[in-house]
Symmetry: C2
Subunit: 298 residues, 2 copies
């Protein structure tokens, strides 16, 4: 759950009165599900949920109409408290994540995959997920013959690629962390060439760079995008998942897939809340996204 | 609910990883009830409780074995998030308090008073309490013929005194706020002379000053007290309530009442957690508290 506190100013050591409190479902997986739901795509969120914060998550997702299989967990679902001061400066307090229900979560994902057209695995790895947990999730998706898209970091990102996932979406730092190379194109190309994975690298305001076995693309918004960048990466993943779920992604359509996904992330920036997209902004952004094939293959 | 986050350092504008999370029932009324419960006094906590945080409060109080009448409220119970960094510096984020169940809370207090020997009203006034809400609580106590002790601030403190409550426990700032006078003895004496209220002024490490219709007392710990001052005032109130509930407080016993209450607040400082008291520290402190009658009447 994402908690936002409006404060005049965050002064370390002081007692700070909170002006208003906003509590809503958050986290990368939830954001991806919310964007797909906003696009009227059938989506199912599978996640552990524990304690009163887990109950709150369950209630809020039901209120948003997002179908979910929330697996009861002995650890309370974590909260992230962000203070936003009068100058707009945000300070984020991130609770540690820990789960006890890994086995049940994996079983739930495996069971639900019989109805699925794609599997998205998003977020950091909580304590309680065993080594090769990510591999088990990717393999479950492969066994169900659906495309698997992964947005994570560190060892789990390497695990996902090595297990044969179809798409990863690191940002520049996450990519450099697993493939130390100051040139992100070369680092992404290396992963793609070795494992066949489509690597879509999010680069903030600069847009996206993508490597596939068939080429390398750069995607840029042609207009400056102002707003809240939180959740833009999740909207990008949602857009990619939508295309891959439709069997739409072929060599000829990959540029359109990138265009739509980046336009969605632009629309997410326009929305003040992570996990929401402005559909009018999406339509507008579709025409202002420039896709360039770096090697003329696509 | 009091939430404590251990952090390395709270840097405004940064993403701060929380090392550990501690969640426990908090607030002045809860602390008073916890101290009385630790002293094996029969106590009943009446309070509004809403949302998942209210459910958490209910569960935690049950776990502590503290009897409570928690009135369902449409507003979520507030949380207070305190970050404590590696240098021990605490930053406290206080959510606004708002309730919808005032009428039911008042009725609950009125009903439970038939079994009570004292009424303690503690804490700030949430939005949703009508003007003269404090007066209604004090009058309920007077109608039930029990002593009423109030620990609050601002207009509600004035209301409590004017409604004839038996004891108020402002700190120096709260007293000065309602009786602007740089001399706290004169300010307290003024309230006592005009309304008959016993005024016990908490002054942190300097101890306590008390005015009654029969005299003025200064109470000091004779040894420096190191520890966590949060909840010391609540332990003081709990100690006063215990004595007043026993019909023990007469002119001859008031010094002993003050000694015990201040010793309890010393014991609370020795405990790392607000609302808990170290009973061994209490026994030790009893002998090291010095009570002085400023006018030789007591």
């Amino acid at each position: 759950m994402d908690v936002t506190y409006r404060v005049e100013r965050l002064v370390p050591g002081a007692t700070v009165r909170v002006g208003s409190v906003d509590v809503r479902p958050g986290g990368k997986g939830v954001n991806v599900a919310r964007v797909l739901h906003a696009l009227r795509e059938p989506v199912l969120l599978a996640a552990p949920a524990g304690g009163e914060t887990g109950a709150e998550l369950r209630r809020e997702l039901a209120g948003l109409g997002i179908p979910a299989r929330l697996v009861p967990d002995a650890e309370p679902t974590r909260r992230t408290v962000t203070t936003v001061d009068d100058d707009g400066e945000a300070t984020c307090l991130v609770e540690p994540a820990s789960i006890t229900s890994w086995a049940e979560v994996l079983t739930t994902v495996e069971n639900e995959l019989t109805e699925a057209r794609a599997l998205v695995v998003s977020g950091s790895t909580p304590t309680g997920v065993p080594p090769l947990g990510m591999r088990a999730l990717v393999r479950a998706g492969k066994a169900a013959n659906v495309p698997v898209l992964v947005d994570t970091q560190g060892p789990a990102l390497v695990e996902a690629v090595e297990a044969g996932c179809d798409v990863v979406k690191p940002n520049v730092h996450e990519l450099e962390d697993v493939r130390p190379d100051h040139d992100p194109v070369r680092a992404a190309r290396d992963l793609t060439d070795r494992w066949g994975t489509v690597v879509v690298v999010s680069r903030g305001e600069e847009g996206v760079m993508a490597t596939t076995p068939h080429g390398t693309w750069v995607v840029r918004p042609t207009q400056a995008v102002a707003g809240n960048p939180t959740g833009a990466g999740d909207a990008l993943v949602a857009g990619l998942a939508r295309s891959f779920a439709r069997d739409e992604v072929t060599l000829g359509t990959f540029e359109e897939t990138l265009r739509e996904a980046v336009a969605l992330s632009v629309a997410a920036v326009h929305s003040p809340t992570a996990g929401e997209v402005d559909l009018a902004a999406y339509d507008a952004a579709l025409g202002s996204v420039m896709v360039t094939n770096l090697d003329g293959v696509g």
